[in-house]
């Protein structure tokens, strides 16, 4: 049985890797996302320059962001920075997964950060989105307290 240790700055290793579950992108995913971000562009629901419908380019970002939850219990955190490169459209019916690697961790002004590089790809390994995100770790028993 897999163990899920608590994510702490000390436990985190630069170079360690994460892998998401596979996910089938459905029209319902796109509909829900459109509601959440108030973006009902017609290409998400009908013909597009790529043929049929495409998903919002940022649709699968949470799959990447949550990769660490497949390995650790995450107490709390804040997203500090995000970079995306949209390489190929994500389309409904695709099965996609995200793979990531911790490329840095650091402490700045007393706050702990981790930096992860990732790619979201289809199951043939075709890269769809590449990105990098920086997350602040809020240690257990502490408050962020800045706002």
């Amino acid at each position: 049985m897999a163990e899920f240790p608590k994510l702490t700055y000390e436990a985190l290793t630069v170079g360690e890797t994460f892998l998401s579950d596979d996910h089938l992108v459905t029209p319902e995913d796109i509909e829900a996302y459109a509601f959440a971000v108030e973006d009902h562009h017609p290409w998400f629901f009908g013909p597009s320059p790529f043929g049929g419908p495409v998903a919002h380019p940022t649709l699968m970002a949470n799959q990447a962001l949550h990769m660490r939850h497949g390995k650790y219990i995450v107490h709390a955190g804040l997203h500090a920075k995000m970079e995306f490169a949209f390489l190929q459209p994500i389309e409904p019916g695709m099965r996609v997964r995200s793979r990531g690697r911790v490329i840095d961790k650091y402490v700045r002004r007393g706050r702990q950060y981790m930096v992860t590089e990732y790619v979201t790809e289809d199951l043939d390994g075709t890269p769809l989105v590449r990105g990098r995100f920086t997350q602040m770790l809020i240690p257990e028993g502490t408050r962020h307290g800045g706002h």
């Binding site: 996302y33 790529f50 995000m82």
Partner: protein, 136 residues
């Protein structure tokens, strides 16, 4: 949706208005206990006045602005780089802004680089960065 308008450095893109309600945040983030996005008590325990929208919702807003402006050249070939500098709380009202920063040749097309930011109802910037896309 045809995209034909010419762009010039310094040009402002049409401003978007967004209202990340708790309901929208719930759908975006998934409702979970012990989440600063969907559990108000937990958010307060962590030092926030109420629940927060995920920072990435702001990248989705910028994605919409860029897709409306650049179309397919953003969906395939676009980029976003943003820093989340202030929390966005449930119920905040945001405006999403873009100003063309640079036009750069790239593989027979033009990469259009845009300074982007989100601003809350108090006039405070909540996220800042750049986005880009290609135009033939």
């Amino acid at each position: 949706m045809a995209v034909t308008e010419a762009l010039a450095v310094g040009q402002e893109l049409p401003v978007l208005e967004k209202e990340p309600s708790q309901r929208r945040i719930d759908v975006y983030s998934g409702v979970r206990p012990r989440s600063i996005h969907t559990d108000e008590d937990w958010a307060r325990q962590k030092g926030f006045r109420t629940t927060l929208a995920q920072g990435m919702m702001s990248t989705a807003y910028v994605s919409e602005m860029m897709t409306r402006q650049l179309g397919a050249g953003f969906v395939k070939g676009g980029t976003i780089s943003m820093a989340f500098i202030k929390p966005v709380y449930a119920g905040d009202r945001l405006t999403v802004h873009g100003v063309v920063k640079e036009l750069r040749p790239e593989a027979g097309q033009t990469r259009i680089v845009v300074d982007v930011w989100c601003q809350n109802q108090h006039g405070e910037k909540t996220a800042v960065g750049t986005a880009s896309g290609l135009r033939a």
